[in-house]
Structures are given as structure tokens and as C-alpha cells.
Symmetry: C2
Subunit: 426 residues, 2 copies
């Protein structure tokens, strides 16, 4: 038995469950959810919990300028470490596992290695990234993206939360409270990175498969479409002279929805996903013709050329329904190309997953793509990276009702243990 | 010259303009608009201004249980009076003429009769209705609808404004401040009612005609459509499993807009007017599939059977796009059948308008229908009623920019003077 298998076999369901339950108490809610937004007092208390637990496992703890926490188990050689982990912050009302699971899974791998009494060639580091959610301070994935490209931090520090608190100030306070934790450089070389996360979607559950090998992350583009009409009385204004901003918006929306048919596709097949999620209507009154309608477009695909085509179709639809005037104006406010995780990484993960699921008599792992962003998306710019997914019950996430069976959570950590240790022994 | 012509010829531009300027100072804004919501301190001060001015013209002032003010010039016989007037309250930000013009026009008719030194057979009463706008306390047209059907008042008294003040309490205070004004019965017999108002739409202006004979008021029906989907992550949820409330809403909206083409029709031709004015989207986030979308439907036509067909089409569209589940639910929350003003009334008005426009070298009057509600809509249930319109510059209303040329305002009062006096001498 190689030590990757040894590590996998020493993953403890009870120890994992205990730490999941303990961490969920920081911001835990009576409905089973967790409210632990980044750098709040609750989040800072949970950081101390992680530091203490990691030290109890013999880890060296360090922190970087963006507040990312690293828990290191040394290897036989002083080489760039294999990184695993995720984030411990949540949405305003989130679940117990989104992020937290990946961090505690990493620490469970270290606990398993300790129990097995083996050493890896490379060091293993478990990371807890700062502000993945982006709900309190925008944008999301601040910690991981700043780690990869540290010059992003200066701008992030200016981000202000709804209470007027600046991210830079909140961060400095959190760093001051970790005066006992040595500072470590950002953008340090890493041998590889593996992130274990709940799927937050329905694919694994509907396939009846507990383990997913994530081959990439969809590209995304975000737009606002501003439609301008003329506010006027719904009763007195004849149809022939109206300029109704909602009529324009509706026509554009109609063309966008037609681009993304609601038909089932095989998992992993690129499909265009189209969501018009945020709408503002002015003056928003039953008997007034809307003078202004703004809506957002979230378009995603694993195939960037499909997004190119959809973006062109959006511009064309706006032009078509604007008529002579500039009635519909598009602006793009975020975009990210697709992330393809390297095949070599996927094969290591597949081995770990296949062994874990085989031993427990489950369906073999399947490959799928991630529809959501993750810290791994940014790490993929820095080192060979990939992800492992476990199922989300009913595909629900960002919600107190977020749930995953404990046996699936254990399988995920077993797959992770194999993968991290195999990579750390290459 | 008959006395209707005499009254018409004694309308004074300067006197009318002076009272319009004076009344507009109650709640007057630096942008030219007026903020004088019903039963506010400003509105109550303006009521005192109207009482004092009417008394200076020799009128007897009375008030009813809904705070409607009546300014009476006696006739030769003790017969039911001819009623004219409108309302003095405004939208939160309204214009100088919406309502106020009709009240001051009535008082100008009395001033003209005084100057001409003539008596009518019937008394003439000028009314200032309470709470036509409905912006502070809903519904609108409380005063006129309660006058016509006094049992409505008990329910109106329970209406609460955004500050938590009950209409009944605000009304009792206003009545107490008018202790010097004798109370008069509601639902008193009236010989006829004529309301002069700005058009609040573009029809007269685009026809180049200063005077409109209003032949009726469109029917209206108000609905809410509630579309229910499943809130989910925009990135992780495949198109094939989505239930997107906005997709459902968009499809229904699309069918509704198709019912009401945006083509020019001749004024007075029944056309279906369709406005989807108020939208609420939950959770209204760029990267979350809308779980719930509610929108309002305001449909109007002079032809009630056209509304019957549109209402059926609305139900059919909701059923079609709901699929198996009850994804789209319609509820009707207001409806009013069309109002047709009697031909006899229109002919008297037409005579008055034709003589006024002829003397000033303007286009002859045209017939048109009202797209908006007016107090006259309720009075039509009580006595022979009709309306006169003057143009609104650019069709703008419910807006500080509301404007009408003074010469058009004078023509309107001349037409009103003729009509009221002719009716009071029948």
C-alpha cells in the first residue's frame, strides 16, 4: 500500500464530523445555516479556532498580507508545497459546508497522515482564503486572487461594506489579532492545488454519483442593459406615441432567452446558461409607463466562443430594439475566461476518487464542470490546479438548507487525501 | 346675446391667471411644480384660500362629510344645481393645473356672472373634491365617489398613509378647522356636472386643437401576475432543470404586448392600452435565478369587450406558460367599466367650445376620450355629466413640468362658462 492509500484509509468520519460541527457553531443559526461573513467578529473567532486546531495537529501556521491563513505540515524535502483548502467565510445566510468543508477536509488529511505516521516528500499546506463570498466586500475570491497577483490587494483594500467599513481597515484589525502568526509572502510557488467543495448544483445528485472530478470552470460575462423610454400616464398615452422601456427590455430578454434553450444536456457538454437576475424599473408604478428599466445578464459557458456569439447577439438585440435612438445601452462589468484544469491533475484525482468509491460500493466518479466560481479558478493561473465535488442535496446552496450526506463528505475527504498525498510524493 | 354667451365673454384672463398663481403658491416648488397632497397642512391652508375667495365672490360655502367643499351661487329657482369643479390636491410632486385649474375655472365662471350681472335659473355650485389623487391615501377619487355613494366613506376612513395616519382622523381634523362652514348632505341631487381639466396626454396638442369635448372615459382593469420558479445559482444550475420565474414572466409579458400593438390610431377610436408598470423580482441578484417575479397589468380601452378578450388572453397566457404547475397566478385588484357621457351634454359643450374657439380664431373643438380617471367618472353615476379638456404641453402630467398655455386655459374657462350657464338656464 502506498502512502496515498494509507492516508485515504486513515480519514476519520467522526473526527471530520466533529470539526464540521464545531466550526459551524461560529455564526451557527437555529435553522441549521451559518452567518459568518468575512472579517466579522464571528469570522475572526473562527480563524482562531482553525489556528488552534491546526497547531494541535502539529502544523506551522502563517498568514499573508490578505489575511489568508496557511497550515503547513512539513515534507521530507524543502520543495514548493501541495496546497489544498478553501474558505471559511459564508454568505449573509449560508450553509455549513460551502467553503468550510474544504478547509476542514485539508486539516483532516493532515490528521490522517499524522495517524498513519507517514511523511510526504513535499510539504502540504492547507489554506483558508479570505473573503471568497464577496457578499460583504466586493469582489469575491479576494484572498485567492490577491495571492496569485498581489498587486490586486491595493484596490481591494478600498472596498467598503454596507456599514461603511473599508476592507483594508477590517483586514488590518484581523492581522493585528493574529500577531502571534508569522507573516508569509504572497504568490509563493506551489507545486499544485486541489480544492474540495460541495457542488452547489444538482448534477452529482441526479447522476447518483458521490464524487465529481471537476474538469474546469465555466466562463462568465456579466452585463447591465439599460433601456430608456419615456415615463408617461398609462391611461392617457396612446400606444402609437409610447416609448415604454419595459417593452424594449422584454423584447431584448426574449431574444436572450431564445439563445439558451431549457433542454437537458449531458453533464460536461458546454451549454449556454443565461440568467437575467436583477431588475430595476422606474418609477415602478402600476399606472405609469416605465421610463427606465435596467437588468443584468449573467451568461456562462465552458466554451468561450459560445459566449462571444451570445455577447454579439446581445448587442444586436439592443440595437434592433433601440430603433433610431440609443434606447438600450449595454455595459459589461465582469468577465472571466473558462478555466480548464490540467488532465494530469484530473487523472490523479480520478484514481483517488475511484479507490474511495470502489471501497464503499458507490458509483464511480464522474467528470463535470463547475458553474460557480471558486478560489481554485484563480489558483489555476498560478500552479496545476483542480477540484473535487461532492453532491449538494437538491442542488441547494447559499441557503441555510444547504446539505450533504456525511458519507459523501467522508468520501470527498478520502479522495482529497489520496490526491494531495500522491501529488506530494511525486 | 343669451346669458351663456354673456358669461363666456366676461371670463377674465387676468383674474383667472391671478388665482392660478395664488393657489399654486400653496405647496409651490422652485421647479414650477406643486406638492400639495390631500389633507396636509398645505392642502388645508389652500382650502381656506378657496373659501375666502369664494366668499369674496358672494358664494355660500358648505362642506360634506368627506370634506368636499361646495361654493354656491344661487339661481332664480330653488332647483338642483349645476355642478362644476375638480380637485385641489396634487401628487407628491405634481403640476399647477391638474385639478386646481378645474376648481378655479368654476370660480371664474361665478366671477364672470357677477361681472355680467346676470342670474341663472338654477343655482351653480363649484366643488373642490377631497383626495382625487390617491397618492397619500388610497384609493383615488375618494371625495367624488363617496359623494355619489356615501356608504363608501366608512371604508375610506380606515385608509392609512405612509406615516401611519388614518384618513378618518385627517378628515376629522380638516372638518374641525372648517367649523365656520355649514355641513351639507352627500348625494344631493344635481342637475348636471361639467368638469374642466387638462388633458394629461398628447392628443389635443398633436391635433393643434385647444378644446376637447370628452365623450367618455376608458374602462380599466388592474391585475397582478405572480410567477413562481425556483431560486438557484446562475452558474451551477443547468438550463434543463431550471424553473426561472423571469422566463415565465417574460413569456407572458410578450403575449400581452402583442395584444396591444404600438400603432397610431385616430383619436376616439377604441384601442387597447397595455402597461406592465410595477415589477418585483426576488432575490434580485445578478447571479441568482429569479425565484419569484410579480408584475402588474394595467389594461384600458373604451370598449369593454376588448378588455374581456384581453383578460381571457392573460389567463390563457398564464396557463400556457405555467406548464403542469401553478407557476403563474393572476389576480384582478381593480376594474371599472367605460364611462360614456350623454350626447346631450356633449352638444352643449360643443356649442360653448365652438363659440370660444371661433372668436379666438383657433381650430374647432374635437371629441376625444379620457385615458385617465377623473371625479367626473363617478359623477356620471349620479347625474348627466361630461368633461372639457385643454392641451397639456408635450402631454406631460403628474410632473413639475406639467404646462398649458394661458390662452388655452382661458379658452377652456370660456367653454365651461357657456356650458354651465346654458345648463343652468335650461
Amino acid at each position: 500500500m502506498n502512502i496515498a492509500e494509507l492516508a485515504q484509509d486513515h480519514v476519520s468520519k467522526d473526527r471530520l464530523n466533529r470539526t464540521l460541527v464545531e466550526l459551524a457553531q461560529f455564526g451557527g443559526r437555529s435553522d441549521g445555516g451559518v452567518s459568518r461573513e468575512t472579517l466579522t467578529d464571528i469570522d475572526k473567532a473562527s480563524r482562531r479556532y482553525l489556528i488552534d486546531y491546526a497547531r494541535s495537529l502539529g502544523c506551522t501556521v502563517s498568514i499573508d498580507d490578505c489575511g489568508n491563513l496557511f497550515f503547513r505540515r512539513e515534507g521530507l524535502q524543502n520543495l514548493p508545497p501541495v496546497l489544498t483548502g478553501s474558505h471559511a467565510d459564508t454568505q449573509p445566510v449560508g450553509g455549513k459546508y460551502d467553503g468550510a468543508y474544504g478547509v476542514l477536509a485539508g486539516l483532516e488529511v493532515i490528521a490522517a497522515l499524522n495517524e498513519a505516521g507517514v511523511q510526504t516528500e513535499r510539504p502540504i499546506e492547507v489554506v483558508s482564503w479570505t473573503n471568497e463570498e464577496g457578499s460583504r466586500f466586493g469582489p469575491g475570491a479576494m484572498g485567492s486572487s490577491a495571492f496569485v497577483q498581489p498587486d490586486r490587494l491595493a484596490e481591494y483594500r478600498q472596498s467598503v461594506d454596507p456599514q461603511g467599513i473599508r476592507f483594508g481597515n477590517a483586514l488590518d484589525e484581523a492581522l493585528a489579532e493574529c500577531a502571534d502568526v508569522p507573516r508569509v509572502a504572497m504568490a509563493r510557488p506551489m507545486a499544485a492545488c486541489v480544492e474540495l467543495h460541495i457542488e452547489q448544483g444538482p448534477v452529482l445528485e441526479s447522476a447518483g454519483t458521490p464524487l465529481g472530478v471537476v474538469s474546469g470552470i465555466q466562463a462568465v460575462r456579466w452585463f447591465t442593459v439599460q433601456c430608456t423610454g419615456t415615463m408617461a400616464h398609462a391611461g392617457t398615452t396612446p400606444m402609437g406615441v409610447r416609448r415604454d422601456a419595459m417593452v424594449i427590455a422584454n423584447a431584448i430578454a426574449n431574444e436572450l432567452y431564445a439563445l439558451a434553450p431549457r433542454t437537458a444536456t449531458a453533464p460536461g457538454t458546454p451549454e449556454l446558461r443565461m440568467t437575467l437576475g436583477r431588475w430595476q424599473v422606474e418609477p415602478n408604478s402600476v399606472n405609469t409607463i416605465p421610463g427606465r428599466v435596467e437588468f443584468t445578464v449573467d451568461m456562462r459557458s465552458l466554451d468561450d466562443s459560445e459566449l462571444d456569439a451570445a455577447e454579439q447577439a446581445l448587442y444586436a438585440a439592443c440595437k434592433k430594439h433601440s430603433g433610431e435612438s440609443e434606447a438600450a445601452v449595454v455595459s459589461k462589468f465582469f468577465h472571466r475566461a473558462p478555466t480548464y484544469f490540467p488532465e494530469g491533475m484530473l487523472q490523479v484525482i480520478e484514481k483517488g476518487c475511484t479507490r474511495a468509491s470502489g471501497k464503499s460500493g458507490c458509483h464511480p466518479p464522474m467528470r463535470l464542470t463547475s458553474g460557480a466560481f471558486h478560489d481554485a479558478m484563480y489558483l489555476a493561473d498560478h500552479c496545476p490546479t483542480a477540484m473535487i465535488f461532492v453532491p449538494s442535496v437538491n442542488g441547494i446552496s447559499h441557503n441555510a438548507a444547504e446539505e450533504t450526506d456525511l458519507k459523501d463528505l467522508v468520501l470527498g475527504v478520502q479522495a482529497l487525501a489520496y490526491t494531495v498525498v500522491a501529488l506530494a510524493c511525486e
